[in-house]
Protein backbone atom coordinates (compact mmCIF):
# COMPACT_ATOMS: atom_id res chain seq x y z
CA UNK A 1 0.00 0.00 0.00
CA UNK A 2 1.54 3.24 -1.27
CA UNK A 3 0.94 6.21 0.92
CA UNK A 4 2.14 8.95 -1.43
CA UNK A 5 2.95 9.56 -5.09
CA UNK A 6 6.10 11.37 -6.13
CA UNK A 7 7.60 13.22 -9.11
CA UNK A 8 8.62 9.95 -10.70
CA UNK A 9 4.97 8.93 -10.77
CA UNK A 10 3.90 12.28 -12.25
CA UNK A 11 6.40 11.81 -15.06
CA UNK A 12 5.41 8.19 -15.56
CA UNK A 13 1.75 9.22 -15.70
CA UNK A 14 2.36 11.83 -18.37
CA UNK A 15 4.40 9.38 -20.41
CA UNK A 16 1.74 6.69 -20.07
CA UNK A 17 -0.91 9.24 -21.01
CA UNK A 18 1.12 10.13 -24.11
CA UNK A 19 1.33 6.44 -25.03
CA UNK A 20 -2.40 5.94 -24.47
CA UNK A 21 -3.30 8.99 -26.57
CA UNK A 22 -0.97 7.86 -29.35
CA UNK A 23 -2.45 4.40 -29.28
CA UNK A 24 -6.03 5.68 -29.37
CA UNK A 25 -5.37 8.63 -31.68
CA UNK A 26 -7.39 7.32 -34.60
CA UNK A 27 -10.20 6.14 -32.36
CA UNK A 28 -10.49 9.54 -30.67
CA UNK A 29 -10.56 11.30 -34.02
CA UNK A 30 -13.18 8.85 -35.22
CA UNK A 31 -15.36 9.79 -32.26
CA UNK A 32 -14.81 13.45 -33.09
CA UNK A 33 -15.55 12.83 -36.75
CA UNK A 34 -19.00 11.55 -35.80
CA UNK A 35 -20.08 14.61 -33.83
CA UNK A 36 -17.30 17.17 -34.27
CA UNK A 37 -14.58 17.91 -36.76
CA UNK A 38 -12.46 14.79 -36.51
CA UNK A 39 -9.31 16.22 -35.02
CA UNK A 40 -9.45 15.40 -31.34
CA UNK A 41 -7.02 12.46 -31.46
CA UNK A 42 -4.62 14.36 -33.68
CA UNK A 43 -4.80 17.46 -31.48
CA UNK A 44 -4.13 15.60 -28.24
CA UNK A 45 -1.43 13.44 -29.76
CA UNK A 46 0.38 16.56 -30.96
CA UNK A 47 0.29 17.88 -27.40
CA UNK A 48 1.08 14.74 -25.45
CA UNK A 49 3.87 13.61 -27.73
CA UNK A 50 5.40 17.07 -27.24
CA UNK A 51 5.12 16.55 -23.48
CA UNK A 52 6.85 13.19 -23.78
CA UNK A 53 9.60 14.76 -25.88
CA UNK A 54 10.15 17.53 -23.33
CA UNK A 55 10.27 15.03 -20.50
CA UNK A 56 13.08 13.22 -22.28
CA UNK A 57 15.06 16.49 -22.20
CA UNK A 58 14.28 17.94 -18.78
CA UNK A 59 13.24 16.30 -15.53
CA UNK A 60 10.79 18.38 -13.50
CA UNK A 61 11.69 18.56 -9.82
CA UNK A 62 8.20 18.18 -8.37
CA UNK A 63 4.82 16.77 -9.41
CA UNK A 64 3.63 20.37 -9.64
CA UNK A 65 6.44 21.23 -12.04
CA UNK A 66 5.56 18.21 -14.16
CA UNK A 67 1.91 19.29 -14.28
CA UNK A 68 2.94 22.83 -15.21
CA UNK A 69 5.16 21.55 -18.01
CA UNK A 70 2.19 19.53 -19.27
CA UNK A 71 -0.12 22.54 -19.01
CA UNK A 72 2.14 24.88 -20.94
CA UNK A 73 2.80 22.30 -23.63
CA UNK A 74 -0.85 21.43 -24.06
CA UNK A 75 -1.81 25.09 -24.30
CA UNK A 76 0.80 25.81 -26.91
CA UNK A 77 0.51 22.67 -29.03
CA UNK A 78 -3.05 21.42 -28.96
CA UNK A 79 -5.27 24.29 -30.03
CA UNK A 80 -8.99 23.71 -30.50
CA UNK A 81 -11.25 23.42 -27.49
CA UNK A 82 -9.23 20.67 -25.84
CA UNK A 83 -5.96 22.63 -25.66
CA UNK A 84 -7.10 25.40 -23.32
CA UNK A 85 -9.32 23.02 -21.37
CA UNK A 86 -6.67 20.38 -20.64
CA UNK A 87 -4.07 23.13 -20.28
CA UNK A 88 -6.15 24.85 -17.64
CA UNK A 89 -6.81 21.52 -15.92
CA UNK A 90 -3.12 20.75 -15.53
CA UNK A 91 -2.29 24.34 -14.58
CA UNK A 92 -4.88 24.25 -11.79
CA UNK A 93 -3.60 20.87 -10.65
CA UNK A 94 -0.07 22.30 -10.52
CA UNK A 95 -1.25 25.23 -8.42
CA UNK A 96 -3.17 22.89 -6.13
CA UNK A 97 -0.15 20.73 -5.30
CA UNK A 98 2.25 23.67 -5.07
CA UNK A 99 5.81 22.74 -4.16
CA UNK A 100 4.89 19.37 -2.61
CA UNK A 101 7.24 16.55 -3.58
CA UNK A 102 4.91 13.83 -2.32
CA UNK A 103 1.17 13.71 -2.94
CA UNK A 104 -0.98 12.03 -0.34
CA UNK A 105 -4.61 11.01 -1.03
CA UNK A 106 -5.98 14.37 0.10
CA UNK A 107 -3.59 16.39 -2.04
CA UNK A 108 -4.24 14.06 -4.96
CA UNK A 109 -8.01 14.43 -4.72
CA UNK A 110 -7.49 18.17 -4.36
CA UNK A 111 -5.45 18.23 -7.55
CA UNK A 112 -8.16 16.35 -9.45
CA UNK A 113 -10.81 18.69 -8.10
CA UNK A 114 -8.82 21.76 -9.10
CA UNK A 115 -8.32 20.33 -12.57
CA UNK A 116 -12.03 19.70 -13.03
CA UNK A 117 -12.88 23.16 -11.67
CA UNK A 118 -10.48 24.68 -14.19
CA UNK A 119 -12.22 22.91 -17.05
CA UNK A 120 -15.59 24.13 -15.84
CA UNK A 121 -14.36 27.68 -15.34
CA UNK A 122 -12.93 27.88 -18.86
CA UNK A 123 -15.59 25.98 -20.74
CA UNK A 124 -18.67 26.78 -18.63
CA UNK A 125 -20.10 23.34 -19.31
CA UNK A 126 -22.40 21.69 -16.81
CA UNK A 127 -22.62 17.98 -16.11
CA UNK A 128 -24.82 16.40 -18.76
CA UNK A 129 -23.71 18.79 -21.51
CA UNK A 130 -21.82 15.89 -23.12
CA UNK A 131 -18.29 17.17 -22.62
CA UNK A 132 -15.15 16.08 -20.81
CA UNK A 133 -16.78 17.44 -17.66
CA UNK A 134 -18.92 14.31 -17.71
CA UNK A 135 -15.79 12.23 -17.21
CA UNK A 136 -14.06 14.56 -14.76
CA UNK A 137 -16.95 15.18 -12.41
CA UNK A 138 -17.67 11.54 -11.53
CA UNK A 139 -13.91 10.98 -11.31
CA UNK A 140 -13.56 13.76 -8.77
CA UNK A 141 -16.57 12.53 -6.82
CA UNK A 142 -15.22 8.99 -6.74
CA UNK A 143 -11.77 10.17 -5.67
CA UNK A 144 -13.24 12.22 -2.85
CA UNK A 145 -15.37 9.31 -1.65
CA UNK A 146 -12.35 7.04 -1.74
CA UNK A 147 -10.37 9.50 0.33
CA UNK A 148 -13.22 9.78 2.81
CA UNK A 149 -13.26 6.00 3.04
CA UNK A 150 -9.53 6.02 3.81
CA UNK A 151 -8.27 4.62 0.53
CA UNK A 152 -4.62 4.84 -0.47
CA UNK A 153 -3.38 6.84 -3.49
CA UNK A 154 -3.52 3.85 -5.80
CA UNK A 155 -7.11 3.14 -4.90
CA UNK A 156 -8.06 6.79 -5.14
CA UNK A 157 -6.79 6.91 -8.72
CA UNK A 158 -8.31 3.53 -9.54
CA UNK A 159 -11.69 4.80 -8.34
CA UNK A 160 -11.30 8.02 -10.34
CA UNK A 161 -10.34 6.17 -13.52
CA UNK A 162 -13.21 3.74 -13.25
CA UNK A 163 -15.65 6.57 -12.64
CA UNK A 164 -14.26 8.55 -15.57
CA UNK A 165 -14.69 5.55 -17.83
CA UNK A 166 -18.26 5.09 -16.68
CA UNK A 167 -18.85 8.80 -17.12
CA UNK A 168 -17.48 8.72 -20.67
CA UNK A 169 -19.70 5.77 -21.56
CA UNK A 170 -22.64 7.58 -20.06
CA UNK A 171 -22.22 10.44 -22.54
CA UNK A 172 -23.39 8.15 -25.36
CA UNK A 173 -27.13 8.91 -25.17
CA UNK A 174 -26.70 12.60 -24.26
CA UNK A 175 -27.45 15.54 -26.53
CA UNK A 176 -24.47 17.91 -26.66
CA UNK A 177 -24.96 21.44 -25.43
CA UNK A 178 -21.40 22.69 -25.54
CA UNK A 179 -18.60 22.57 -28.10
CA UNK A 180 -18.81 21.68 -31.74
CA UNK A 181 -21.07 18.67 -31.17
CA UNK A 182 -23.82 20.97 -29.91
CA UNK A 183 -24.47 22.11 -33.49
CA UNK A 184 -25.75 18.65 -34.25
CA UNK A 185 -28.51 18.95 -31.68
CA UNK A 186 -30.24 15.62 -31.23
CA UNK A 187 -28.09 14.04 -33.89
CA UNK A 188 -25.24 14.10 -31.36
CA UNK A 189 -27.04 11.47 -29.26
CA UNK A 190 -25.80 7.93 -29.80
CA UNK A 191 -22.14 8.87 -29.94
CA UNK A 192 -19.52 9.07 -27.21
CA UNK A 193 -18.03 12.47 -26.47
CA UNK A 194 -14.40 12.41 -27.62
CA UNK A 195 -13.16 14.68 -24.84
CA UNK A 196 -14.81 12.51 -22.20
CA UNK A 197 -13.21 9.47 -23.82
CA UNK A 198 -9.74 11.03 -23.81
CA UNK A 199 -10.19 12.17 -20.20
CA UNK A 200 -10.94 8.60 -19.22
CA UNK A 201 -7.80 7.40 -21.01
CA UNK A 202 -5.66 9.98 -19.25
CA UNK A 203 -7.06 9.17 -15.83
CA UNK A 204 -6.66 5.46 -16.49
CA UNK A 205 -2.98 6.14 -17.23
CA UNK A 206 -2.72 7.90 -13.88
CA UNK A 207 -4.11 4.86 -12.08
CA UNK A 208 -2.02 2.37 -14.02
CA UNK A 209 1.22 4.14 -13.13
CA UNK A 210 0.38 4.61 -9.45
Amino acid sequence: MRTTLDTEWAIAWLQAAADAVAEHRVELSELDRAIGDGDHGENLDRGFSAIAAKLREEAPATPGAAFKLAAMTLMSKVGGAAGPLYGTAFLRAATAVGEATELDPVLLAGALTAARDGVVLRGKAEPGDKTMVDAWTPAVDAAKSAVAAGADVTSVLAAAAAAAEAGATATDPLTARKGRASYLGERSAGHRDPGAASSALILRAAADTA
Binding site: G38, G80, A81
Partner: protein, 333 residues
Protein backbone atom coordinates in the same frame (compact mmCIF):
# COMPACT_ATOMS: atom_id res chain seq x y z
CA UNK B 1 -7.14 10.48 -50.05
CA UNK B 2 -5.14 12.20 -52.78
CA UNK B 3 -3.82 15.65 -52.02
CA UNK B 4 -1.04 17.88 -53.28
CA UNK B 5 0.79 17.68 -49.99
CA UNK B 6 4.03 16.23 -48.73
CA UNK B 7 3.07 15.19 -45.23
CA UNK B 8 -0.19 15.79 -43.35
CA UNK B 9 1.84 17.20 -40.48
CA UNK B 10 3.56 19.87 -42.57
CA UNK B 11 0.56 21.03 -44.62
CA UNK B 12 0.00 24.30 -42.78
CA UNK B 13 3.66 25.23 -42.41
CA UNK B 14 4.49 24.59 -46.04
CA UNK B 15 1.38 26.23 -47.34
CA UNK B 16 1.96 29.39 -45.31
CA UNK B 17 5.61 29.41 -46.42
CA UNK B 18 4.49 29.22 -50.04
CA UNK B 19 2.00 31.97 -49.37
CA UNK B 20 4.76 34.13 -47.91
CA UNK B 21 6.97 33.52 -50.93
CA UNK B 22 4.22 34.33 -53.41
CA UNK B 23 3.19 37.52 -51.59
CA UNK B 24 6.48 38.76 -50.19
CA UNK B 25 5.50 42.31 -51.14
CA UNK B 26 2.44 42.18 -48.88
CA UNK B 27 3.30 40.01 -45.89
CA UNK B 28 5.97 38.56 -43.66
CA UNK B 29 5.72 35.06 -42.29
CA UNK B 30 6.94 34.27 -38.79
CA UNK B 31 7.73 30.58 -38.95
CA UNK B 32 7.76 29.61 -35.27
CA UNK B 33 5.35 30.23 -33.72
CA UNK B 34 3.53 30.52 -37.01
CA UNK B 35 1.79 33.77 -37.91
CA UNK B 36 1.60 36.20 -40.80
CA UNK B 37 1.90 39.96 -40.53
CA UNK B 38 1.42 42.81 -42.93
CA UNK B 39 4.69 44.17 -44.33
CA UNK B 40 5.79 47.07 -42.20
CA UNK B 41 3.54 46.24 -39.25
CA UNK B 42 2.91 47.76 -36.80
CA UNK B 43 1.66 50.78 -38.71
CA UNK B 44 2.38 53.76 -36.45
CA UNK B 45 -0.75 55.05 -34.75
CA UNK B 46 -3.04 52.52 -36.39
CA UNK B 47 -5.18 50.06 -34.47
CA UNK B 48 -3.94 46.54 -35.21
CA UNK B 49 -6.43 44.09 -36.66
CA UNK B 50 -5.75 40.40 -36.07
CA UNK B 51 -7.69 37.32 -36.94
CA UNK B 52 -6.99 33.65 -36.99
CA UNK B 53 -8.47 30.24 -36.65
CA UNK B 54 -8.07 26.77 -37.96
CA UNK B 55 -6.44 26.38 -41.35
CA UNK B 56 -8.30 24.90 -44.31
CA UNK B 57 -10.44 27.99 -44.95
CA UNK B 58 -8.03 29.63 -47.36
CA UNK B 59 -7.80 32.39 -48.46
CA UNK B 60 -9.09 33.19 -44.94
CA UNK B 61 -7.21 34.60 -42.95
CA UNK B 62 -3.72 35.10 -44.36
CA UNK B 63 -5.16 36.05 -47.73
CA UNK B 64 -6.69 39.11 -46.08
CA UNK B 65 -3.51 40.50 -44.55
CA UNK B 66 -2.50 43.77 -46.13
CA UNK B 67 -3.43 47.39 -46.58
CA UNK B 68 -7.01 48.09 -45.57
CA UNK B 69 -7.70 44.75 -43.96
CA UNK B 70 -5.80 42.59 -41.43
CA UNK B 71 -2.46 43.34 -39.82
CA UNK B 72 -1.97 39.75 -38.76
CA UNK B 73 -3.36 36.29 -39.35
CA UNK B 74 -2.73 33.36 -37.03
CA UNK B 75 -3.27 29.96 -38.65
CA UNK B 76 -3.94 26.92 -36.51
CA UNK B 77 -3.68 23.32 -37.60
CA UNK B 78 -6.31 22.32 -40.16
CA UNK B 79 -9.74 23.05 -38.63
CA UNK B 80 -8.14 23.57 -35.21
CA UNK B 81 -7.86 26.96 -33.59
CA UNK B 82 -4.37 28.40 -33.11
CA UNK B 83 -2.82 28.46 -29.68
CA UNK B 84 -2.16 31.37 -27.31
CA UNK B 85 1.58 31.10 -27.89
CA UNK B 86 0.95 32.01 -31.54
CA UNK B 87 -1.74 34.61 -30.93
CA UNK B 88 0.18 36.48 -28.25
CA UNK B 89 3.36 37.29 -30.22
CA UNK B 90 1.27 38.11 -33.30
CA UNK B 91 -0.73 40.53 -31.19
CA UNK B 92 2.43 42.13 -29.83
CA UNK B 93 3.88 42.34 -33.35
CA UNK B 94 1.03 44.43 -34.72
CA UNK B 95 0.41 46.69 -31.75
CA UNK B 96 1.57 50.22 -32.47
CA UNK B 97 0.35 51.30 -29.05
CA UNK B 98 -3.15 51.96 -30.35
CA UNK B 99 -4.36 48.53 -29.33
CA UNK B 100 -5.35 45.41 -31.21
CA UNK B 101 -8.74 44.05 -32.24
CA UNK B 102 -9.09 40.27 -32.35
CA UNK B 103 -11.66 39.05 -34.83
CA UNK B 104 -12.71 35.65 -33.53
CA UNK B 105 -15.12 33.20 -35.10
CA UNK B 106 -17.45 31.79 -32.46
CA UNK B 107 -16.19 28.26 -31.94
CA UNK B 108 -15.33 27.02 -28.47
CA UNK B 109 -11.72 26.34 -29.40
CA UNK B 110 -11.18 29.74 -30.99
CA UNK B 111 -12.93 31.57 -28.20
CA UNK B 112 -10.91 29.86 -25.46
CA UNK B 113 -7.53 30.24 -27.14
CA UNK B 114 -8.08 33.88 -28.11
CA UNK B 115 -9.41 34.61 -24.61
CA UNK B 116 -6.23 33.25 -23.06
CA UNK B 117 -4.06 35.13 -25.53
CA UNK B 118 -5.96 38.36 -24.89
CA UNK B 119 -5.45 37.97 -21.15
CA UNK B 120 -1.72 37.42 -21.69
CA UNK B 121 -1.48 40.40 -24.06
CA UNK B 122 -3.30 42.66 -21.62
CA UNK B 123 -0.83 41.49 -18.99
CA UNK B 124 1.92 42.72 -21.28
CA UNK B 125 0.23 46.09 -21.55
CA UNK B 126 -1.50 45.75 -24.91
CA UNK B 127 -5.13 46.80 -25.10
CA UNK B 128 -7.14 44.06 -26.78
CA UNK B 129 -10.78 44.13 -27.90
CA UNK B 130 -12.57 41.14 -29.34
CA UNK B 131 -15.13 41.09 -32.12
CA UNK B 132 -16.89 37.76 -31.98
CA UNK B 133 -18.35 36.72 -35.32
CA UNK B 134 -21.48 34.57 -35.11
CA UNK B 135 -23.45 35.01 -38.29
CA UNK B 136 -24.53 31.42 -38.94
CA UNK B 137 -28.31 31.17 -38.82
CA UNK B 138 -28.08 27.41 -39.23
CA UNK B 139 -27.63 27.17 -35.46
CA UNK B 140 -31.16 27.50 -34.20
CA UNK B 141 -31.01 26.92 -30.47
CA UNK B 142 -28.16 29.22 -29.65
CA UNK B 143 -29.07 28.98 -25.97
CA UNK B 144 -28.57 25.22 -25.92
CA UNK B 145 -25.45 25.17 -28.05
CA UNK B 146 -22.09 26.87 -28.13
CA UNK B 147 -23.97 29.63 -29.99
CA UNK B 148 -24.06 30.60 -33.61
CA UNK B 149 -20.87 29.96 -35.54
CA UNK B 150 -18.72 32.46 -37.35
CA UNK B 151 -18.83 31.76 -41.07
CA UNK B 152 -19.08 33.85 -44.26
CA UNK B 153 -19.69 37.11 -42.42
CA UNK B 154 -16.11 36.94 -41.13
CA UNK B 155 -14.76 38.11 -44.48
CA UNK B 156 -17.05 41.13 -44.44
CA UNK B 157 -16.17 41.98 -40.83
CA UNK B 158 -12.46 41.81 -41.67
CA UNK B 159 -12.80 44.00 -44.76
CA UNK B 160 -14.96 46.66 -43.19
CA UNK B 161 -13.25 46.81 -39.79
CA UNK B 162 -9.95 46.82 -41.69
CA UNK B 163 -11.02 49.89 -43.62
CA UNK B 164 -12.06 51.58 -40.38
CA UNK B 165 -8.66 50.89 -38.83
CA UNK B 166 -6.93 52.08 -41.99
CA UNK B 167 -8.75 55.41 -41.98
CA UNK B 168 -7.54 55.96 -38.44
CA UNK B 169 -10.46 54.96 -36.22
CA UNK B 170 -9.54 54.29 -32.60
CA UNK B 171 -9.75 50.97 -30.79
CA UNK B 172 -13.33 51.36 -29.64
CA UNK B 173 -14.51 52.69 -32.99
CA UNK B 174 -12.95 49.81 -34.95
CA UNK B 175 -14.47 47.36 -32.48
CA UNK B 176 -17.86 49.01 -32.85
CA UNK B 177 -17.70 48.85 -36.65
CA UNK B 178 -16.71 45.18 -36.54
CA UNK B 179 -19.59 44.39 -34.19
CA UNK B 180 -21.96 46.42 -36.33
CA UNK B 181 -21.08 44.33 -39.37
CA UNK B 182 -21.53 41.16 -37.37
CA UNK B 183 -24.90 42.34 -36.06
CA UNK B 184 -26.11 43.00 -39.59
CA UNK B 185 -24.89 39.94 -41.47
CA UNK B 186 -26.41 36.46 -41.56
CA UNK B 187 -25.23 33.39 -43.40
CA UNK B 188 -26.41 29.92 -44.24
CA UNK B 189 -24.52 27.19 -46.08
CA UNK B 190 -25.01 23.91 -47.88
CA UNK B 191 -22.66 21.02 -48.62
CA UNK B 192 -22.97 18.66 -51.58
CA UNK B 193 -19.89 16.65 -50.70
CA UNK B 194 -17.61 16.56 -47.68
CA UNK B 195 -13.96 17.45 -47.47
CA UNK B 196 -11.09 15.34 -46.19
CA UNK B 197 -8.86 16.67 -43.44
CA UNK B 198 -5.28 15.68 -44.39
CA UNK B 199 -4.41 14.00 -41.10
CA UNK B 200 -7.77 12.22 -40.96
CA UNK B 201 -7.47 10.82 -44.47
CA UNK B 202 -11.17 10.07 -44.80
CA UNK B 203 -14.07 12.41 -45.63
CA UNK B 204 -15.49 14.26 -42.63
CA UNK B 205 -18.93 12.89 -43.30
CA UNK B 206 -20.72 10.80 -45.85
CA UNK B 207 -23.50 12.04 -48.07
CA UNK B 208 -25.46 9.77 -50.34
CA UNK B 209 -25.54 10.50 -54.05
CA UNK B 210 -28.86 12.25 -53.75
CA UNK B 211 -28.38 14.02 -50.41
CA UNK B 212 -27.22 17.48 -49.44
CA UNK B 213 -26.47 18.80 -45.98
CA UNK B 214 -28.20 22.08 -45.18
CA UNK B 215 -26.76 24.39 -42.55
CA UNK B 216 -23.21 23.21 -42.90
CA UNK B 217 -20.40 24.97 -41.06
CA UNK B 218 -16.94 25.55 -42.43
CA UNK B 219 -15.25 22.65 -40.68
CA UNK B 220 -16.62 19.63 -42.38
CA UNK B 221 -18.93 19.28 -39.42
CA UNK B 222 -22.46 18.21 -40.31
CA UNK B 223 -25.14 20.88 -40.51
CA UNK B 224 -28.76 21.34 -39.58
CA UNK B 225 -30.37 18.57 -41.57
CA UNK B 226 -30.06 16.41 -44.63
CA UNK B 227 -32.45 16.63 -47.50
CA UNK B 228 -32.76 15.00 -50.87
CA UNK B 229 -30.87 16.87 -53.57
CA UNK B 230 -32.78 19.75 -55.11
CA UNK B 231 -32.04 22.13 -57.91
CA UNK B 232 -29.97 25.27 -57.42
CA UNK B 233 -32.93 27.62 -57.23
CA UNK B 234 -34.66 25.61 -54.50
CA UNK B 235 -31.48 25.31 -52.47
CA UNK B 236 -30.88 29.03 -52.86
CA UNK B 237 -34.34 29.73 -51.46
CA UNK B 238 -33.74 27.35 -48.55
CA UNK B 239 -30.54 29.16 -47.65
CA UNK B 240 -31.93 32.65 -48.06
CA UNK B 241 -35.19 32.16 -46.15
CA UNK B 242 -33.69 31.91 -42.64
CA UNK B 243 -31.14 34.61 -43.47
CA UNK B 244 -33.82 37.08 -44.49
CA UNK B 245 -36.14 36.07 -41.67
CA UNK B 246 -33.44 36.63 -39.10
CA UNK B 247 -32.26 39.97 -40.49
CA UNK B 248 -35.82 41.30 -40.70
CA UNK B 249 -34.99 43.43 -43.69
CA UNK B 250 -37.53 45.96 -44.91
CA UNK B 251 -38.34 46.60 -48.52
CA UNK B 252 -36.07 49.34 -49.84
CA UNK B 253 -33.10 48.47 -47.61
CA UNK B 254 -29.66 48.17 -49.18
CA UNK B 255 -27.65 45.01 -48.87
CA UNK B 256 -24.43 43.31 -49.86
CA UNK B 257 -25.02 39.84 -51.31
CA UNK B 258 -22.16 37.40 -50.83
CA UNK B 259 -22.21 33.97 -52.45
CA UNK B 260 -19.27 32.03 -51.14
CA UNK B 261 -17.85 28.77 -52.47
CA UNK B 262 -16.75 26.08 -50.03
CA UNK B 263 -13.70 25.27 -52.16
CA UNK B 264 -14.71 22.42 -54.44
CA UNK B 265 -17.65 23.94 -56.29
CA UNK B 266 -17.05 25.53 -59.68
CA UNK B 267 -17.40 29.29 -59.89
CA UNK B 268 -20.03 28.83 -62.60
CA UNK B 269 -22.33 27.19 -60.05
CA UNK B 270 -21.83 30.03 -57.58
CA UNK B 271 -23.04 32.44 -60.25
CA UNK B 272 -26.11 30.26 -60.85
CA UNK B 273 -26.86 30.58 -57.14
CA UNK B 274 -26.14 34.31 -57.23
CA UNK B 275 -28.55 34.73 -60.12
CA UNK B 276 -31.49 33.31 -58.21
CA UNK B 277 -30.49 34.89 -54.89
CA UNK B 278 -30.51 38.28 -56.63
CA UNK B 279 -34.00 37.54 -57.95
CA UNK B 280 -35.25 36.55 -54.49
CA UNK B 281 -33.84 39.73 -52.94
CA UNK B 282 -35.32 41.86 -55.69
CA UNK B 283 -38.65 40.19 -55.09
CA UNK B 284 -38.39 41.20 -51.44
CA UNK B 285 -37.80 44.80 -52.50
CA UNK B 286 -34.19 44.84 -51.39
CA UNK B 287 -31.50 46.77 -53.23
CA UNK B 288 -28.26 44.87 -53.88
CA UNK B 289 -25.72 47.65 -53.58
CA UNK B 290 -22.62 45.46 -53.53
CA UNK B 291 -21.83 41.85 -54.28
CA UNK B 292 -19.11 39.29 -53.78
CA UNK B 293 -18.98 35.89 -55.48
CA UNK B 294 -16.17 33.39 -55.11
CA UNK B 295 -14.19 31.14 -52.80
CA UNK B 296 -13.45 33.46 -49.89
CA UNK B 297 -13.96 31.27 -46.83
CA UNK B 298 -13.71 27.62 -47.64
CA UNK B 299 -13.66 24.19 -46.07
CA UNK B 300 -10.79 22.60 -48.01
CA UNK B 301 -12.31 20.99 -51.10
CA UNK B 302 -15.83 20.74 -49.75
CA UNK B 303 -18.48 21.11 -52.43
CA UNK B 304 -21.18 23.58 -51.59
CA UNK B 305 -21.68 27.23 -50.89
CA UNK B 306 -22.97 29.73 -48.39
CA UNK B 307 -25.05 32.83 -48.89
CA UNK B 308 -24.50 35.88 -46.70
CA UNK B 309 -26.60 39.02 -46.69
CA UNK B 310 -25.24 42.16 -45.02
CA UNK B 311 -27.53 45.10 -44.30
CA UNK B 312 -25.63 48.15 -45.50
CA UNK B 313 -25.66 51.70 -44.28
CA UNK B 314 -23.76 54.51 -46.01
CA UNK B 315 -20.78 54.18 -43.71
CA UNK B 316 -20.48 50.43 -44.17
CA UNK B 317 -20.74 50.84 -47.95
CA UNK B 318 -18.02 53.49 -47.96
CA UNK B 319 -15.77 51.27 -45.84
CA UNK B 320 -16.47 48.30 -48.12
CA UNK B 321 -15.46 50.42 -51.11
CA UNK B 322 -12.28 51.71 -49.44
CA UNK B 323 -9.02 50.55 -51.05
CA UNK B 324 -7.73 47.14 -50.06
CA UNK B 325 -4.61 45.31 -51.12
CA UNK B 326 -4.36 41.74 -49.93
CA UNK B 327 -3.60 38.47 -51.68
CA UNK B 328 -7.27 37.57 -51.98
CA UNK B 329 -9.17 40.84 -52.04
CA UNK B 330 -7.91 43.86 -53.87
CA UNK B 331 -9.29 47.05 -55.28
CA UNK B 332 -8.58 50.74 -55.45
CA UNK B 333 -4.81 50.17 -55.17
Amino acid sequence: MKKLINDPKSVVDESVQGFGLAHADLVSVNPDPLFVTRSGAPVPGKVGLLSGGGSGHEPLHAGYVGIGMLDAAVPGAVFTSPTPDQILPATLAVDSGAGVVHIVKNYTGDVLNFEMAAELAEAEGVQVRTVLVNDDVAVEDSLYTAGRRGVGGTVLVEKIAGAAAERGDGLDAVTEIGRRVNANVRTMGVALAACTVPHAGVPSFELADNEVEIGIGIHGEPGRHRIAMENADSITERLLAPVLADLQLQSGEKVLLFVNGMGGTPLSELYIVYRHAAAVLAEAGLVIERSLVGNYITALEMQGCSISVLRLDDELTALWDAPVNTAALRWGI
